[in-house]
């Protein structure tokens, strides 16, 4: 893995220095939340220590400073995913809120009785339930693109599902349970050929792929800050300006208005129209710092390292007796999902934890995926660029220990 100075990178993440149950922490739960580099922690602290003030309304020095840093973060995030303007970046709590925002504004005005919303079998619950709720409310139908046993979407079925009643497609770029990278360019092209807008769940893709929302031509693209090495409680909904402008507001309150009288309220401009109330200011600034970190390190370099590590991990795990991969898509990012013999993943998780190794065990908020493979749960190791081959080796040793305990 050549010129990549992994120790230098790891030193930027304070949490990685600790020992857990007497072993160096091996953190393989990055798909749940990623660890934060020092620069992010400093940016958050600096907001509270140096210039804590509310934004967009003060005429005083601190407020101007806070506003300028918050808005500058928005601008850097817009460039990071290649949005055409900062106004297309709506700050939300996370991917879940981003999707809910689209469902309850754009979705509510677009989807009616007898219409159809297309999602896929591999969606996270947060890209299922909001659409289900919308369909129930409107008397619309939820249609599901099936996947094959490798964990790849069946594209011919997708093409068949799109029809004159389809009002919207919602799909994840990368599956959180399987790591599958979906062929989004093709899916979006198909949908657009029929004039159908596409909402993308980008929670797992923005941290692990170079995402260009304009090249993809995504209509909406939601992601979370905390999986992108930023703080929890902040995320982004990208939307094409024309769509955002035509949409009704999401929540009503302060900051999202232009003028308010008891007879009539006029709404603010983008992005403020969708950002009622005081924002998670430190969060937005912290997320801006996370983006700065990734760019300073060179995102492509980080991702190339991650891909090599994923290939190494898949190979190494395949050599551990009893380990069976779940999801073997040809194009994957970050995630290895697996089973260990007939040992329940929950037991695997406990044994690995005793070795200082953190993985996720469970259904990964993707119960239909578990249903597909007819398992109640899987073990999931999800990698980040600060992980090492030695950590993968430790995981494999830990899995051999599972065998020892369970005989």
């Amino acid at each position: 893995m050549s010129s990549f100075d992994i120790e230098k990178i790891r030193a930027d993440f304070p949490v990685l220095r600790q020992k857990v149950h007497g072993h160096p922490l091996v953190y393989f739960d990055n798909a749940a939340t990623a660890q934060k580099p020092r620069i992010v922690l400093d940016a958050i602290q600096s907001f509270y220590v140096d210039y804590c003030a509310n934004i967009h309304r003060g005429v005083h020095y601190l407020s101007e400073q806070a506003t300028s840093l918050y808005e500058s973060a928005r601008g850097r995030i817009a460039r990071f995913i290649n949005a055409s303007a900062p106004e297309e970046i709506i700050f939300v709590r996370g991917t879940t809120e981003g999707i809910n925002l689209v469902a309850s504004t754009f979705g509510r005005t677009r989807v009616g009785e007898g219409d159809e919303v297309v999602i896929t079998e591999m969606e996270h619950h947060s890209n299922i339930v909001p659409w289900q709720m919308l369909c129930e409310e409107k008397g619309a139908k939820l249609r599901v693109v099936p996947m094959d046993d490798r964990g790849e979407l069946r594209m011919e079925e997708y093409a068949r599902l799109l029809n004159g009643r389809t009002k919207l497609v919602a799909v994840s770029h990368v599956s959180n349970a399987l790591g599958t990278v979906n062929d989004l360019p093709q899916m979006i092209r198909h949908a657009h050929d029929r004039g159908i807008p596409v909402v993308v769940d980008g929670a797992q893709s923005v941290p692990h792929l170079k995402v260009d929302v304009r090249k993809l031509d995504a209509d909406f693209y939601a992601f979370s800050g905390h999986k992108l090495y930023g703080p929890t409680g902040v995320g982004v909904l990208y939307g094409k300006r024309a769509l955002l402008e035509a949409m009704p507001p999401y929540q009503g309150g302060g900051h999202m208005i232009h003028t308010v009288t008891f007879e009539k309220t006029t709404y603010g401009e983008l992005p403020h129209k969708f950002e009622a109330g005081t924002a998670h200011i430190a969060g937005g600034i912290g997320l801006g710092a996370a983006v700065d970190y990734l760019e300073a390190q060179g995102l492509e370099r980080l991702l190339a390292y991650e891909d090599e590590l994923l290939a190494y991990a898949e190979k190494a795990l395949a050599q551990v007796p009893g380990v069976r991969p779940v999801g073997t898509a040809r194009h994957k990012a970050s995630v290895v999902s697996f089973l260990v013999g007939d040992v329940h993943p929950h037991d695997v998780g406990t044994i690995l934890d005793q070795e200082g190794i953190a993985i996720r065990v469970g259904h990964h908020c993707a119960q239909p995926v578990m249903e597909h493979y007819r398992v109640p749960a899987t073990c999931r190791a999800s990698l980040a660029f600060y992980n090492t081959r030695e950590e993968v080796d430790a995981l494999c040793r830990g899995l051999r220990k599972v065998k020892e305990v369970f005989g």
């Binding site: 329940h344 406990t350 065990v361 469970g362 109640p376 305990v405 369970f406 005989g407």
Partner: protein, 157 residues
């Protein structure tokens, strides 16, 4: 390894591999479903009650080694016990797995093998799922309980 050995004692591993009373119960007078949505554990517990005694108890479902072994051993332990005794054993068992010093380990007999669970807070729900489900079955037939309910008396953990 020592804490792990405490948790996964041979008896527990044995019951996990070959669970006892692992079947639906014909002629059951009581049953309930138990669900731990966090790890996907689902079990169904059956009981046949006559003359105020649990004459027989069985279970079905999927779960981790701790929840399966706990269900297996529970169905053996409660056989022939009165409903009050079952409630008392459960109370004591719950104290044991949560590390409550007031737990009376001696009176728990074989169930004392679950003492290691208290070192693993995330696993307390696994150990107690079957017991909560049995309680639900005995107190109101045919209900479903969840480890993630909100404030209900049968919420686990």
């Amino acid at each position: 390894m020592s804490e792990l050995r405490e948790l996964y004692q041979q008896v527990i591993l044995d019951h996990n591999k070959q669970p006892r009373n692992f079947r639906a119960l014909e002629g059951a007078t009581h049953s309930a479903n138990g669900h731990n949505p966090l790890c996907g554990d689902r079990i169904k517990v059956y009981a046949k009650v006559g003359n105020g005694l649990v004459e027989e108890a069985t279970f079905e479902g999927t779960g981790c080694a701790i929840s399966k072994a706990s269900a297996s051993m529970m169905t053996g332990v409660v056989k022939g016990k009165s409903l009050e005794e079952v409630a008392r054993i459960f109370d004591n068992f719950h104290r044991l797995v949560t590390g409550d010093p007031k737990a009376n380990t001696e009176s728990l007999g074989k169930l004392a093998v679950f003492s290691g669970v208290c070192e693993f807070p995330a696993r307390v729900k696994c150990a107690s799922l079957a017991w909560h489900t049995l309680q639900a079955a005995l107190t109101r037939a045919g209900s479903t309980i969840s480890t993630e309910g909100s404030g209900a008396e049968d919420t686990v953990g």
